[in-house]
């Protein structure tokens, strides 16, 4: 057992906090974009992931994801249920310089935020109870196995040599395709796409963007699991991809729509962050810049897909996370640079080597298929059992009062009058 390094531990503890903070960040990023009658519904779907998924992760999820492989690299054993007998993490014996419990906590935050990403697609129309069921089952049956495949040294994609530094497949593609599956069953918001449903508070969305950007440094550079040159490289890559993503999105938006919007700037930064996630610790700074810029531009254009294909992905989870995740995972096969991280081979550009690219495609495809199909089935089953969707009147009135018996804002004098029952 290598010694625990206090510097590495300090950075990973901080990274856990940073990724935790991304959850409210995401909640506000999304909540700013919905209409004011659905703000709390959106916030709650996100915050509750912190409650429910954290508990499930300790009880079950961590063991399925990082327990001793049960064979075939598909899922982990139940040895770590309730974190019992947590000693070393299988496959990382002797490699971790941080306390194993810190590794558990770091991975927990990934398990929490991944399903939270889905909420952007289903905005304004899903029953809270149905979301709770989806969240619980999905985090155990879909998230934990995919995390095992890719992040656990025993996982089959890990074994094949597919790379994912901080969650291009596990987090973004996984959540993005699940979002698509869920909205196929859930259906469109009434009035979409004819009715305007403008963001109720872009400052909230910008606040969420700021928190996400900040937290993403923990997400990606924390994935180095230490405070070293690799973490620093991952951090600057993360930042420059976000910056370039913002520039890329705004440029194309300016050309297409005539204006550079603040929502565009925020969205472009997030697109860049998504795309760099799998690559952060495997590419050099200029490659990160390129990946970010491409993601910003392409994700903006990918939004048109929903108008073409008529699925109501309310806040563009598919265009940003699914498309952005695929861009990053695939471009990693192109830009991987063994000079940055000798744990990885050179990719197409620096090594003329297509093997990694093939592995990346396999990882993308496997995630799409597994998560897409299971999410579809799960959505269908919940719909049949308890119904996914609020009724028409409740949708018109909004989720805040109908699902949570609350109102987000009471600015005026009149709203704050009234009697206690």
């Amino acid at each position: 057992m290598p010694e625990i390094d206090s510097g590495d531990t300090a950075w990973v503890l901080m990274s856990i906090a940073l990724v935790l903070f991304m959850v409210p960040g995401l909640a506000f990023f999304y909540a700013g974009m919905v209409r004011s009658k659905n703000v709390l519904g959106m916030l709650m779907q996100n915050f509750f992931s912190l409650g429910l998924v954290s508990v499930l992760w300790v009880l079950l999820g961590f063991s399925l994801a990082f327990g001793e492989d049960l064979g075939g690299g598909f899922v982990g054993a139940l040895d770590f249920v309730g974190l019992a007998g947590l000693g070393e993490i299988p496959g990382l014996e002797g490699a971790l310089t941080i306390p194993p419990i810190a590794f558990v906590a770091f991975q927990m935050m990934f398990a929490v935020i991944t399903p939270a990403l889905i909420t952007g697609a289903i905005a304004d129309r899903m029953k809270f109870a149905a979301w709770v069921v989806f969240l619980a089952v999905w985090s155990v049956l879909v998230y934990a196995p995919v995390a095992h495949w890719v992040f656990s040294p025993g996982g089959w994609l890990f074994q094949r040599g597919a790379l994912d530094f901080a969650g291009g497949t596990v987090v973004h593609i996984n959540a993005g395709v699940a979002a698509l599956a869920l909205i196929v069953v859930l259906g469109r918001r009434r009035g979409w796409p004819g009715e305007a449903m403008p963001p109720h508070s872009l400052p909230l969305t910008l606040l969420g963007t700021g928190i996400l950007w900040f937290g993403w440094f923990g997400f990606n550079a924390g994935s180095a699991l230490g405070a070293n040159g690799l973490a620093a490289q991952a951090l600057i890559n993360t930042h420059i991809a976000a910056a370039a993503g913002m520039c890329g999105w705004l440029l194309v938006e300016r050309i297409k729509d005539g204006k550079a919007t603040t929502l565009g700037g925020a969205s472009g930064a997030v697109a860049g962050l998504v795309a760099i996630t799998p690559c952060a610790g495997f590419v050099n700074t200029m490659s990160a810049l390129a990946i970010g810029a491409v993601a910003g531009a392409v994700c903006f254009l990918a939004i048109q897909l929903k108008y073409r294909l008529r699925y109501d992905d309310s806040l563009d989870v598919v265009a940003v996370h699914l498309v952005g995740g695929i861009i990053g995972s695939v471009l990693l096969g192109v830009f991987a640079d063994a000079g940055v991280n000798d744990a990885a081979p050179d990719g197409l550009l620096f090594g003329g080597n297509a093997e990694l690219l093939v592995n990346q495609f396999i990882a993308v495809g496997a995630t799409l298929a597994f998560s897409g199909i299971l999410s579809l089935v799960l959505a269908k089953v919940i719909d049949l059992a308890i119904g996914l969707r609020v009724d028409e009147d409740d949708e018109a009135q909004g989720l805040d009062t109908t699902q949570h018996a609350e109102t987000a804002y009471s600015f005026g004098d009149v709203r704050s009058l009234g009697r206690v029952a």
């Binding site: 018109a396 009062t401 609350e406 109102t407 009149v414």
Partner: protein, 112 residues
């Protein structure tokens, strides 16, 4: 000249406006208001304390019209704004002694 004032449910506003526009109404003024009536407000709960919100969000439309158009417009609003559920709102008509368009200073029906 008459002024038609209508209190309607907010989500019906777009429909009402479309109908009126179709009938040649060129303008109107909208206010967000709170209604008190037979329709009960929603119940909210904050840390175990239950409140009944007494006031229900409504939208108030004001439309200036020539006298002969009033009946038709009132009917049209009734049609467009009705859901049949309690709280659909009221329409009332008052007499207006004069109208002026600020931009041009025009008066009377030319001002509409």
């Amino acid at each position: 000249m008459k002024l038609v004032t209508a209190i309607v449910k907010p989500f019906k506003l777009d429909e009402v406006r479309d109908v009126l526009k179709g009938m040649g109404v060129e303008g109107m003024t909208i206010t967000e208001v709170q209604g008190f009536g037979r329709q009960r407000g929603q119940t909210e709960v904050y840390r175990g304390a239950e409140y009944t919100v007494n006031f229900v969000p409504k939208v108030r439309l004001e439309v200036l019209l020539s006298a002969d158009a009033v009946d038709g417009i009132v009917e049209a609003i009734v049609e467009a704004a009705r859901t049949g559920k309690i709280g659909d709102g009221k329409i009332w008509v008052t007499d207006v002694e004069g109208v002026t368009r600020i931009r041009t200073g025009e008066k009377g029906s030319d001002a509409l």
